[in-house]
Assembly symmetry: C2
Homo-oligomer: 206 residues x 2
DNA sequence: CGAAAACTGTACTGACGGTACAGGAGCGCA
DNA sequence: TGCGCTCCTGTACCGTCAGTACAGTTTTCG
C-alpha cells in the first residue's frame, strides 16, 4: 500500500536529477526504469504517460519553491519590523542563496515548460499559470504592505512590481544560462533590490 | 546554384513557423518536408541534422532581433539628444511594439535553447552566449553614455544594468507565457523604464 | 486467508531522427 | 558535346523512444 508511493518517489527522484542535468526531452523513460530498477510496465503503472511525469515533477518543484520563499521571507520578516526593510533583507538572502548554488540555478521547471520546447498539455499550462499567480499574490501582498508605510516615488502597481520579482528571477536564470555566468542571476536580483530601495526611498535622501 | 538557397530558405520558413507555434521538439522533419514539398534526402542535403536546423534558425532569429533593436533605438536616438531620454523613448517604443504583437511574443529562441528541454550542442550554446554578450554590449554602451551626462542616484554597474534589459525581456516573455497574459511583457518593460528614470532622476525632483 | 495494490514479462506499434547509397535532372563551362 | 557540379529523388533500412495490451505474479494489508 505504501510501497507504491516509495517507488513513485524513487522514479521522481531519478527523473528530477536527469531532467535538471540534461532537460526533459533528453530524459528517456527507459533510462529512468534502469536507474530505478523497475520495469517499463511498472513505470506506466505509476504514470499514465510522460506528460504525467512532467506534471508530478512540476508540482514537486513548485511546492519546494514555495517552501524556500516561505523560509527566506519569513526569516527576513523576523529580522525587521518595517516591511520594506524585511523585503530588502529577503532579496539579499535570496541573492545569497542563489550565489551559493555551485553550478548556478538548475533552471526553473515553470520556465522550461512554458518556453514549450515540447507540446505540454493544458493541465500543465494551468499549473504553470497558478504558480505564476501564487508568486504574484505573495509578492503583491508584500508590496502592498510596504506601500502602506512608504510612499513610492513613482506610482507603480503592486501586482506589476510583484511580477517584476518573477520576471527578474526567470529572466536572470535564462541570462545566466545563456552567458554561462552563474553570478548573473544573484547580481540581477541585487540590481532589482537597488531599484526597490530607490523606489521607496524618500525623495532627497542619499 | 542559387536554387539551393531558395529551398533552404523555404525549409527555414516552414521550420520557423512550426517551431514558434509548437516548439522545436514538437516540430518533426517529416512535417517540414511535406510543407516544403521536398524529400527527406533533400532535407538532409541542406542540414546535416536537426541540430543544424536549430542553429540556422537561431542565427536567423538573432539577426532579426538585432535589426529590430537597431531600428527602435536608432529611431529613439533621432528623437532625443539626451542619451537618457533617447533610451527611455526606446523602451517606450519597444513596449509598444511588444503590445502590438497579436498573440503575445512568440517566444525567444535563445531562451528556449538554453532552458534546454533538449540537449543542444556546444556550437548552439556558444551562439546563445554571443547573443547575450551582444545585448550586453549594446545596452551597456547606452548606459555608459547616459552616465556621462547623468549621475545615477545609486552606483550601479553599466553592464549589470544592460543585463537587466535582457533579464526583463526574457523574464517577461516567460512570465507572460506562464500567465497567458501577453500584456505582462510590455508592462514589465515599462516598470523597468520607470526604474531607469528613477535611477537617473536628480535627487529631490518629482 | 482474501482482495486489492504493486508490480513483471512479453510482444508489439508507430513516430521519429538518422544513415547509406545509387541515381537523375538541370546548369554552367571548356 | 560532354564533363562536372549542385541539387535534389527514391528506396531501403536502423535504433531509440513513447506508448499499448494484457496476462500473470508477488507483495501488502486488513
Amino acid at each position: 500500500m505504501r510501497k507504491g508511493r516509495e517507488t513513485r518517489a524513487k522514479i521522481l527522484d531519478a527523473a528530477e536529477a536527469a531532467v535538471l542535468a540534461k532537460g526533459f526531452g533528453a530524459t528517456s523513460i527507459d533510462e529512468l526504469i534502469v536507474e530505478t530498477g523497475i520495469t517499463k510496465s511498472g513505470f506506466f503503472y505509476h504514470f499514465r504517460d510522460k506528460n504525467e511525469l512532467a506534471k508530478a515533477l512540476l508540482e514537486r518543484y513548485i511546492e519546494n519553491d514555495e517552501r524556500i520563499y516561505d523560509e527566506i521571507f519569513g526569516r527576513a520578516r523576523e529580522l525587521a519590523d518595517d516591511p520594506l526593510q524585511a523585503f530588502l533583507i529577503g532579496l539579499k538572502l535570496l541573492s545569497e542563496l542563489l550565489s551559493d548554488l555551485p553550478n548556478g540555478h538548475p533552471g526553473c521547471l515553470v520556465a522550461t515548460m512554458c518556453t514549450q520546447e515540447r507540446a505540454f498539455d493544458r493541465e500543465i499550462r494551468e499549473i504553470n499559470r497558478q504558480a505564476a499567480l501564487m508568486w504574484r499574490r505573495r509578492f503583491g501582498a508584500m508590496f502592498r504592505d510596504i506601500m502602506q508605510v512608504h510612499k513610492p516615488r513613482e506610482p507603480l502597481d503592486a501586482d506589476q512590481l510583484a511580477d517584476m520579482v518573477s520576471t527578474v528571477l526567470e529572466g536572470g536564470i535564462v541570462l545566466s544560462k545563456a552567458l554561462k555566468e552563474p553570478k548573473s542571476l544573484p547580481d540581477q536580483v541585487l540590481v532589482f533590490r537597488t531599484f526597490v530601495r530607490l523606489l521607496f526611498q524618500p525623495a532627497g535622501q542619499p
